[in-house]
């Protein structure tokens, strides 16, 4: 059994149609991986463990506010093989529905009825029969050098930034990244150059680059747009990063629901392979199978190795022990897409694009706004500024999540705070992946918190007790509270459970999971009436 045999297990399960009877034994025979391990892997990933489900309706907060429940019920009524899904990264096109591995935008009850019970015929009138659709992005026109990424600019010819990078050499490149003040845009905001130096300085020469394209934080869909519209920046950024840290093999981990971005990135990799524009740097694409936790970098590494996506303990960090325990540089799609510009125009240029922090930032905005979409603004823009470019509020602002479910809820009074890493962290929230969800005054925050808790419960990996038990405990508690039950098991222990989850959980999922509830209780106590 080689490491590649083990890594192939999820792909083989997918090709076999999921975790059907006998499949684990067959794959064990082909790979040498114990059949119980194959079973453990298949049962972990929702797109593999439930082979009968063909239609999955997103029940993320934005999609629920956009009518997901009605679509789900209609699918059930029509007798389709349907189930609920966690966020599909289509919060700007609610409700999003997954048909097999194809995400359909703006699916309506009429769309469901038109399919007459045949799940294969389900299509979205908003993008009928299209093999590629994109969301709303902005600003539509920008002067040269005004934006770090510029989603509307169209792909640039490959190779210019890479050639410049080779001219500079690894050390100078990393100096420019440091001067740029580039922070990781996957959620943590960690300074990128520290990781680059960390990998470049390892004694081990077998090193890898890994692209985290497992975008799954509810409210977030920017990486989807990056890959759809600027795959050139993503792949060139990867090539530069790999060159700078001495890696030859780049692994791309795209969530399994990204069939359309996959096709676009795959085509461009083919072009690169044919032209040889990035020398001996190789790209390897891997498909996820339905697990939010694999966006956590060490869970992603486990998934790439073909295992259950359970986060590792840190330290050691991936810079020293990453993929197959080799030094590994992992970056989010948007972070790496900033790299070609920094190399060509210099770190100072990038830094100057920001307001309270460096660079421009892709903000995703969904919920109660006129034009949900992905908008590139200076890092540190406020909610009001963001919503203004997104066509304005629908109704009266009540609350917002600045960075997806993990960031909890903030009250309308904080609409003028800079949406950056430091400010939001200081407010007990986080910028995270900048998936901004806007809620107007028609939304009950107890209900909204319950939906976020349901998401975390469904996506907890189950490795550690605080998260495994705590996510379910809190969701049940809130629902009991909403039903008007009292005494044991309602919210009287919520603060202790939240404390325990935050202190005791291994990774960020469990640590952040209570935040939607604790922040809703803090800012909107009126939505939690006693005995109501």
């Amino acid at each position: 059994m080689t490491k590649h045999d083990a890594a192939s297990v999820p792909d083989r399960l997918r090709e076999a149609g999921g975790l059907l009877e006998g499949v684990a034994r067959d794959i064990a025979r082909e790979t040498g991986v114990p059949e119980a391990h194959v079973w453990g892997v298949g049962s972990f990933y929702h797109l593999l463990s439930r082979p009968d489900a063909k239609i999955r309706v997103c029940t993320g907060l934005s999609c629920l506010m956009g009518g997901a429940q009605g679509v789900l019920d209609a699918c059930k009524d029509a007798g389709m093989p349907v189930e609920e899904a966690s966020c599909l990264a289509g919060c700007d096109v609610p409700p999003a529905v997954l048909r097999d591995r194809r995400t359909l935008p703006h699916v309506s009850v009429e769309d469901v009825q038109r399919a007459e019970g045949d799940w294969q015929r389900l299509d979205a009138a908003a993008a009928p029969g299209t093999t590629e659709w994109t969301g709303t992005v902005g600003p539509e026109s920008a002067s040269d050098g005004q934006l770090a990424i510029d989603l509307c600019a169209g792909a640039a010819p490959l190779g210019q930034a890479f050639a410049r990078a080779v001219e500079l050499g690894p050390e100078r490149i990393i100096e420019e990244i440091a001067a740029a003040g580039l922070q990781g845009r996957g959620g943590a905001g960690f300074p990128a150059h520290i990781k680059w130096n960390g990998v470049a300085g390892q004694a081990e020469t077998e090193r890898y680059f890994v692209l985290n394209a497992d975008e799954g934080e509810p409210g977030t869909f920017k990486d989807r747009e990056c890959m759809l519209r600027r795959p050139d920046l993503v792949l060139e950024g990867m090539a530069i990063a790999a060159y700078a840290v001495g890696a030859k093999d780049c692994y791309l981990y795209l969530r399994g629901e990204f069939e359309i971005p996959w096709g676009i990135v795959e085509r461009m990799i083919k072009e690169i392979d044919e032209s040889g524009v990035f020398g001996d740097i190789r790209f390897h694409m891997h498909e996820g199978n339905g697990a939010y936790i694999c966006g956590e970098e060490t869970a992603l590494l486990e998934a790439l190795e073909g295992k259950r996506g359970m986060p590792r303990h840190k330290p050691p960090y991936p810079v020293s022990e990453g993929l197959w325990r080799k030094p590994t540089l992992i970056h989010n799609v948007e972070t790496i897409a900033c790299v070609p510009g920094i190399v060509q125009r210099g770190g100072e240029w990038f830094k100057g694009l920001g307001r309270s922090e460096a660079g421009t930032k892709l903000y995703c905005v969904s919920g109660h706004v006129a034009k949900p979409g992905t908008y590139e603004l200076p890092l540190g823009a406020t909610l009001d500024e963001l919503v203004e470019v997104a066509g304005g509020y629908i109704g009266t602002l009540k609350a917002f999540s600045p960075g997806g479910a993990s960031s909890g809820f903030l009250p309308a009074e904080m609409r003028d705070k800079p949406l950056d890493f430091k400010t939001l962290s200081g407010l007990g929230s986080m910028l995270g992946s900048a998936g901004v969800v806007v809620l107007n005054d028609t939304v009950d925050l107890r209900w909204a918190a319950a939906q976020q808790l349901r998401f975390f419960e469904a996506e907890s990996c189950g490795q550690c007790a605080p998260c495994r038990i705590g996510t379910r405990y809190l969701r049940e508690s809130v629902e009991r509270h909403a039903r008007g039950a009292s005494v044991d098991g309602t919210l009287e222990h919520a603060a202790d459970v939240a404390w325990q989850m935050n202190e005791g959980s291994i990774c960020g999922l469990g640590q952040a999971a209570p935040l939607p509830l604790t922040s809703a209780l803090k800012y909107f106590p009126e939505d939690f009436p006693e005995g109501a």
């Binding site: 684990a24 114990p34 391990h37 972990f44 990996c461 189950g462 550690c464 222990h493 005791g504």
Partner: protein, 375 residues
């Protein structure tokens, strides 16, 4: 004034130590905080830990504070670092233990009648010791079990499972068998076989190590459970040597002293703690589960010789040995030494087997000697 030589200074520098609750504890390279603490007699609770396994850090009970670090760290998985200050008795650690265990109890039967039919339930003991609240309510985690598994020895009770993965890791790391796995995810995480097969239809060798390492009795032994034996903590443990082969594994016979009219009865076999015996707490299917013979009604308990009619009758050891010796000597005298052959049982110890070949070669002068497990 004591003069220090260069050598003394170097020797002193080589000794690394950490400070645990104000006590300086020396440690050697590669040791974890937990190992150093255990040697120093400082109690740190664990559920998923077993010294035979790679630390998992999954149960979270062993979290302690390290001065200067924001987050508490798992003592089982964190290497001791020279000069580190470890705190195991702070308010924060205490709150952590209480709230974590309280949370565990919302997802676990709290009644010992249910949760402690076999081995002592380490989770309930720990909850008692650290004063965990028991009034946080009960939640439902529907986990797949394997109630129809027809194997004769091992029963999995999904309701008392805390998904610490001690069993699956033992099966993989110690036995190299990998018959069971963590399956599903989140609150529904359980222990499974591929396709939910009976253990008999997997690579399982029925060593019962999963039963031994399980901290909550979720992995239990079928026989004492079905025969409604007393819980293990009411049984007397008698250390003995397994007599199924020559390895000489140490095991503990669990005796119900009141049974058999006060004569006592072995109702179960358990393994000694890891690190205390040559078998390191490991047993095989025979040692752990094949103890039925002890009280079997057909078991031979005294020597037998045949009388003139060819019937076996009880006799003394002295007489039995004399009869055997006479018979062997007679054959050798009449037909020569090579007319004799000695076959010893695989249930004899190595020492006994040695003596049999000595008897064969040195006393009876024949090399016709064999041991039935030597093929």
């Amino acid at each position: 004034m004591i003069e220090r030589t260069e050598h003394d200074v170097q020797a002193r520098a080589a000794i690394k130590s950490i400070d645990i609750d104000g006590h300086s504890v020396a440690f050697s390279a590669g040791e974890t905080i937990l190992e150093a603490a255990q040697r120093a007699g400082v109690e740190i609770p664990t559920l998923c830990h077993d010294p035979r396994l790679e630390p998992a850090g999954a149960c979270r009970t062993c979290l302690v504070e390290v001065e200067g670090q924001n987050r508490m760290v798992p003592a089982c998985k964190t290497p001791a670092a020279d000069g580190a200050k470890i705190l195991t008795e702070t308010e924060r650690v205490d709150r952590h233990r209480k709230t974590l265990l309280a949370l565990y109890l919302t997802d676990h039967p709290r009644d010992r009648e249910v949760a402690e039919r076999g081995a002592p339930n380490e989770l309930l003991d720990m909850a008692d010791r650290y004063g965990a609240p028991r009034n946080w309510g009960t939640m439902e985690s529907k986990r797949d079990a394997r109630d129809t598994d027809r194997n004769p020895y091992i029963h999995f009770n999904a309701d008392t499972c805390i998904a610490c993965a001690r069993c699956t890791r033992y099966c993989e790391e110690v036995e190299g068998v990998s018959a069971i796995t963590l399956a599903g995810r989140g609150a529904e995480t359980t222990i499974a076989t591929a396709d939910s097969l009976s253990l008999l239809d997997t690579t399982c060798e029925m060593c019962g190590g999963c039963v031994d390492v399980c901290p909550t009795g979720a992995m239990g032994e079928k026989m004492p459970l079905t025969r409604s034996a007393k819980p293990e903590r009411e049984l007397k443990k008698v250390r003995s040597t397994c007599n199924f082969c020559g390895v000489g594994c140490q095991l503990d016979l669990n005796v119900d002293e009141e049974a058999e009219g006060g004569n006592g009865r072995v109702v179960k076999v358990t393994s000694p703690p890891p690190g205390t015996t040559t078998n390191d707490g490991n047993l095989c299917v025979k040692g752990r589960f094949a103890y039925d013979f002890i009280h079997h009604e057909e078991r031979i308990t005294s020597p037998l010789v045949r009388n003139e009619n060819g019937d076996l009758v009880e006799t003394s050891w002295d007489n039995a040995l004399r009869v055997a010796a006479d018979g062997l000597r007679g054959v050798a005298e009449r037909h020569g030494a090579n007319a004799l052959g000695f076959v010893s049982s695989s249930r004899c110890t190595v020492e006994e087997n040695y003596l049999v070949q000595k008897l064969s070669r040195a006393v009876f002068k024949t090399n016709n000697v064999h041991q039935c497990a030597a093929t």
